[in-house]
Structure formats: C-alpha cells, structure tokens
C-alpha cells in the first residue's frame, strides 16, 4: 500500500487553521517520524512588510517540516510493506517445502494390506 504525497506546496505563508481534536494524531505519533506542529498563524491584515516576510519564512519552514514528516511516514509504510511481503514469501516457501515432504512420504507409503508397489 503506497501513499502518494500530495505535492510539495511551494506557496508562501499560512493561516493558523485550528488543528482538529482527532484520534489520528496518536497513531501518527507512533511512527518513527518527526512531529509536525500546527501551521504558523497568519499576520494581521495591516501587518508590516517585515511581519509578512517573517510569516512567509515561518510558513515555508512549516511546509518543509510537513513534507519531511510525510516522506518519512511513506518510507515507514514502505518498510512495513516489504516486511509483510517477506513474511508472506517465507510462509509460502515453508508451506511448499512441507507439502513436498508430505508428498515424498506418501510416495513410499505402502498400499493397504501389503508392501510398497
């Protein structure tokens, strides 16, 4: 299962959309990936140029953190998928080996009432 990252959002600045009180976060937090804070707050409308610039830098930093965390999560999912595939492959191999052994034994099993033909 693969998640395609929704594009690296090369845009400037952020409004602080309130984070949802979700039940998703505790699961995401278990992934071995950096946590991402809420996006920075949008400056007031009459903010100075300097404030807009600072907010822009903060927003782009948040985007970078967000993309890095998502990339890490996708890599973690890929590792889980590879581990699952390896387990299934090994199971298949062992199962086939067992069935082959069973067949070998059945081949030497005498027919009822007498010795092997």
């Amino acid at each position: 299962m693969r998640i395609i990252l929704v594009g690296a959002l090369a845009i400037v600045l952020s409004a602080g959309a309130p984070a949802t009180a979700d039940e998703i976060a505790p699961v995401v937090a278990q992934l071995p990936c950096p946590a991402v804070a809420d996006p920075p707050v949008l400056p007031r409308r009459r903010a100075s140029q300097e404030e807009w610039s600072a907010a822009s830098v903060a927003f782009n930093e948040w985007i970078s953190q967000r993309n890095a965390a998502l990339n890490c999560a996708v890599q973690t999912l890929a590792a889980m998928e590879a581990n699952e595939r390896a387990l299934v492959d090994e199971h298949t191999r062992l199962n086939a080996a067992g069935r082959a052994a069973q067949s070998a034994w059945q081949a030497v099993q005498p027919t009822s009432g007498g010795s092997a033909q």
């Binding site: 979700d22 998703i24 590792a79 699952e84 387990l87 030497v108 099993q109």
Partner: protein, 180 residues
C-alpha cells in the same frame, strides 16, 4: 495403517479484526471514524487539477481500507487506542516465530506396512511442529497487514488535512497580503 498428516491449509492472509489495547470511550472511536469518513467524502470528489487526481485517489483508497479495517461502517467499530508494533516498521524485520529444521527423509526401499507405520510418527511430529510455526507466521503477517492498513489510512488523513491547511493558508495570504 497410519496416515501421513495433512499439511495445514494456511494460505489465506486476510485483514481480520484489529488487535487493539484497552477500550476507549465511545466518543473517541466515533471521532476516529468520523475523521476518516470526512476525508473519504472530501477525496471522493474529483480534483480540480487532473494532475492531482491520482494522489487524491490513492488517499481515498488508503482511507477506505482503514475505514473498513476499523469496521467504521458497521454497528460496532473497533474500539480503543491503536498500538503499532515498532518492530514491524524497521527495515528487515525478522520473524519471532520458531524456525523448524528440515523434515525427516522418508525411508527408502520396499517397505512393509509395519515398517512405514514405525517410521511415519517422525514425519507427523515434524509436520505438527512445522504447522504450528506456519500458523505463527501467518498470524504475524496478518497482524502486520492490519497495522499497515491502519497506518496508511492515518498517514493519508494527515497528508490530506495538512494539504488543506496549506491551501487555506495560501488563500488567506492572498486575501490579506497588502502586496498581493
């Protein structure tokens, strides 16, 4: 005459119920399913930009799988916190299930029934041990698949939500920036 034991039918690896910890309040599991459902609805609509459609579809598929695994559409969704096994997330995870040696070789030559019956318990003993090990591996793979489905769904939700936050922020910036 003793029979050679049948080798276990352990082929199917399917997503079953999720292994979870202590039960949580009903409202919490409702929130979890509600969030998945909301993203499902969002991503079911076509993307404005056709180039974004594959990513949107992938998110929808991942969230759908998680929604189903958590039985969110049923009367009793899976309750309690989801606990992921960190070992499953490490590259090159090695199974904790027992490793069984090779099976005993079948006897050779012309055998009487008595000779076969004397020999076959060794194989049957091995087969029982091997079947147990196979069951262990199948259970491990099943649990890993369940966790992968859930983890994929929550990552897809987080992906979608933060994308929305960024787009809303960009729109707000466009409206508020005195230079725009």
């Amino acid at each position: 005459m003793k029979a050679v034991k049948l080798f276990g039918a352990l082929a199917a690896l399917v997503v079953a119920s999720l292994s979870v910890g202590a039960p949580a309040a009903a409202a919490q599991q409702g929130d979890r399913c509600a969030e998945l459902h909301a993203v499902l609805a969002d991503t079911a609509t076509p993307a404005d930009d056709p180039a974004e459609q594959p990513a949107r579809t992938a998110i929808n598929n991942a969230v759908r799988a998680g929604y189903d695994a958590l039985q969110c559409g049923g009367a009793t969704p899976v309750a309690g916190p989801i606990e992921l096994n960190r070992q499953y997330m490490s590259a090159g995870y090695r199974s904790h299930c027992p490793v069984v040696g090779p099976p005993p070789a079948p006897p050779t030559g012309r055998l009487t029934t008595r000779q076969f019956n004397d020999a076959v318990p060794a194989f049957n003993s091995w087969a029982e041990t091997n079947n147990a090990a196979l069951s262990c591996r199948a259970a491990e793979a099943r649990q890993l698949r369940q966790q992968l489905v859930i983890a994929s769904a929550v990552v897809a939700v987080r992906n979608w939500r933060t994308k929305q936050q960024a787009e809303e922020a960009a729109a707000a910036f466009g409206r508020a920036n005195p230079r725009s």
